[in-house]
């Protein structure tokens, strides 16, 4: 097993937050962060950021709802740009 580099480790941290890292990848993060302070900091920040994002309960409109809004704007723009007869 090759020791992971910093670039690879931080990328694995991203995957871990989205639950897409397997046990081997999680082990590689732990191994690397044992001796690399920079990645240890990134790993902690990454976890914290993900938690904050989830706790914030950010609301969003669905792609369909956004599409409706876009169509409304488009229609209105055509209406606004039409020369008055």
């Amino acid at each position: 097993m090759k020791f992971p580099r910093c670039e690879k480790t931080t990328s694995l941290c991203d995957k871990r937050e989205y639950k897409e890292a397997n046990w081997r990848e999680i082990f590689l993060i732990q191994l690397h962060t044992l001796y690399c302070k920079e990645c240890r900091t990134y790993s902690k920040k990454s976890e914290h950021f993900h938690r904050v994002l989830q706790d914030s309960a950010l609301q969003h409109l669905s792609p369909d709802q956004k599409q409706v809004l876009k169509q409304q704007i488009e229609r209105e723009m055509q209406h606004v740009n039409q020369p008055k007869s």
Partner: protein, 182 residues
């Protein structure tokens, strides 16, 4: 001086305005209507935009008026429909089914209010990312779409997605650190 770009409004500000509205009206459908009305009013009144504030600030000022209009309308309707209900026996007080149900909506509203500033700070940081990073970050982190779906939709490889997402997350962390965790 700032200029208006209505064709980008939905991608850039719809979620921001929606998060702002939802806390104030506590109803998803009403909030959605208010966002739509805000955009349309903005378009109709775009000549009044002087470019002194940002587009977002200007749209929020319109949205605030829409929220006030909504409550005014609601009050007028209430006055018309008001009926007086009283308990026949004072001991029956609290027996109405409605009074026995925990107010889940109010509870959810409290939680929403609590993190409003954080949500707006996140969306402000998101607005500072480049279009590509912002789109992928939104899809993955806010809409919760899986990697395969995003790759298919944007026609990119998974490794491409992770590289862009990594840059986006890094920028978001830096921005929040500056504006929120300071």
């Amino acid at each position: 001086m700032t200029t208006l770009n209505p064709e980008k409004w939905v991608d850039r500000y719809a979620d921001y305005l929606y998060n702002y509205a939802i806390v104030r009206v506590n109803d998803h459908i009403v909030a959605q209507d208010i966002v739509s009305e805000t955009f349309l009013s903005g378009l109709r009144g775009r000549k009044t935009f002087q470019g002194k504030s940002s587009e977002r600030t200007w749209l929020i000022s319109i949205l605030k008026r829409k929220v006030i209009d909504y409550y005014r309308k609601l009050n007028t309707q209430k006055e018309r429909a008001e009926i007086s209900v009283s308990y026949q026996d004072p001991e029956m007080e609290g027996d109405w089914i409605e009074e026995n149900v925990p107010d889940l909506q109010a509870q959810a509203a409290d939680e929403l209010i609590e993190n409003e500033e954080l949500r707006l700070a996140i969306l402000e940081c998101l607005d500072q990312l480049n279009e590509n990073q912002a789109r992928i970050f939104k899809m993955k982190s806010i809409e919760g779409l899986d990697t395969e779906t995003i790759c298919k939709e944007l026609n990119i490889t998974p490794s491409n997605l992770w590289v862009i997402l990594h840059r986006a997350r890094k920028n978001m962390m830096e921005c929040l650190e500056k504006n929120w965790f300071k």
